[in-house]
Symmetry: C2
């Protein structure tokens, strides 16, 4: 095992930071490092926090972080901003408020932005979670800005997902995005001192009651982070969901699904790598590209030709069409 | 060739609408249909329009659409909203304003939302462009809401990309996202009657002058869509960029790159399909998944085992590790 991973497991903060940077930069060593890290993971509980910009996610994460620390839990926070190309350090908007925790050795805070594709960001987040898990964090909070599908992909990694809304005011709750409704295990109505708060809570409860819920019925918790109101109740609800997940066997189930997805991705990664190495060695795509550009061939038939050329299909019938 | 594609090429609107729906729903027939469509594509010029919510994209697209119609061009408009799960028909915000064009047989307007992943949306958009191209549209306008990486992926398909900004007011232009700056061929400062307009134009021009531009220096055009101001100039600038792209050979170059990406994606699609069919036939992943869940194995080594099991690597050395 490499020294960096040893350092990580012994609780070296700089090793954790460095490993996450290597992951973000898609370092060639990444796979080997993750392989060494993997046996040391599986202990941390992952909580996803998502919501529209301005919903007060950071303040809420801050409040929860405090509660967790009071209970003696070691906490990692990953702030993910799919709209920002920046990453590293503490750049997310009001992350400055978290400075009090910055001196706390048992808290690790990190921001990640989109460097490459959004898909890449979701992957890097999953890998950063592994690092913080092996680093010994008990809980890992993933805070992500709500911008549609991207945050849905990111929070898929969470064991409990919290969706933060604010009182709808004049608006109807109907504007909640379809995908968001499905991923929420807990609803938080933050800034509950704003007008329309009670109506929003009622409306969401009604929406939730309309769905048949053989499993878990998400609670709807109003909070006012500025006064610390509702935080204890939220922390209780979060722990209750965790207990539910563990006792019902669903935690094991979603983690198994996640492992299956991960395995699938890794298989495809190896296959793609191998195929392209082979193609690079044996054929040039230039002529084929030219044929497609000139509409003499379509990309679908051309793809088939490429694979025929490297005998991908015919191999003693082993890999069939 | 299938009847639906024949109808499309003969200019049947319902065929166009139906084909785009099939694409969105990832219909099993999709690949065959796209294969038939492909030889009839390559004529349309694709213009991407992106910018933050509220920048006035729809109004601007509306104004440009009118100019294009005055020049006798047939136009397709695809409104892409990565934050919305909705699609079809005319749902995008103020798309209602476009109703005057709805009766115009030479205009085709369509909205697309994110059904599956964002990656899927970018792909579906590319495929919808192919449909409208074969349908006989001269220009295809892609209007997309700016939410970070996702719209960058979507406008990558455009031959000319227009970025719509509004006067920064108190803010500095610095907040323009890094990725956006790189993709813009034309900058539009819309709502140029708002305070700070001139300063915004100046600042962006300064930023553009700082970059060495051996190729194309994006112009910065102020517009006031409510009064139709700056639209003619914008349309001229757009045509000038098109001429530049054609005459410099860059249009051919970016289209070649696009074809290469498309071919790559298709090859990987075929390979993945083939591998998973093979895996499904021969081995069960359940035990392996269980081993990974229990940390007896890591996903990286397990992926390797899967491929070894189906003899992916060893095949007379044909596909090498």
């Amino acid at each position: 095992m490499q020294q960096l991973v040893k350092d990580l497991i012994q609780g070296n903060r700089r090793a954790a930071a460095r490993l996450i940077s290597l992951i973000e930069n898609d370092d060639p060593q990444k796979r080997e490092l993750l392989k060494d890290i993997y046996p040391h993971t599986g202990r941390a509980y992952v909580v996803g926090v998502t919501g529209a910009p301005g919903a007060g996610k950071s303040s809420l994460v801050d409040c929860l972080l405090q509660k967790m620390r009071e209970d003696g839990l070691k906490v990692g926070v990953i702030g993910v901003d799919p709209t920002s190309p920046f990453s590293g350090g503490a750049i997310l908007g009001d992350r400055i408020r978290m400075q009090e925790h910055a001196l706390d050795q048992d808290v690790f805070i990190r921001s990640m932005g989109t460097r490459g594709s959004l898909g890449g960001l979701a992957r890097a987040t999953r890998e950063a979670i592994q690092v913080l898990d092996a680093f010994g964090k008990d809980v890992i909070l993933i805070e992500t800005v709500g911008v549609g599908q991207s945050e849905v992909d990111i929070v898929k990694t969470a064991d409990t997902t919290m969706v933060i809304l604010t009182p709808a005011g004049g608006d109807s709750v109907q504007t909640i995005k379809a995908g968001i409704m499905e991923i929420a295990d807990l609803f938080v109505i933050n800034k509950a001192d704003l007008p329309g708060s009670e109506r929003t809570v009622t409306e969401i409860n009604l929406m939730l009651d309309m769905k048949e819920s053989d499993r878990w019925r998400p609670p709807v918790q109003p909070t006012i982070t500025t006064r610390g109101e509702g935080i204890k109740e939220l922390w209780d609800a979060l722990q209750e969901h965790r207990r539910f997940m563990e006792e019902s066997g669903q935690l094991m189930e979603i983690r198994r699904d996640r492992v299956r997805r991960e395995l699938t991705e890794q298989v495809e990664y190896l296959v793609k790598n191998s195929i392209w190495n082979r193609v690079k060695e044996e054929i040039s795509l230039d002529n084929l590209v030219e044929n497609i550009v000139l509409r003499e061939k379509d990309p679908y038939s051309a793809a088939h030709d490429v694979l025929a050329e490297i005998n991908f299909f015919s191999e003693s019938g082993k890999v069939s069409e």
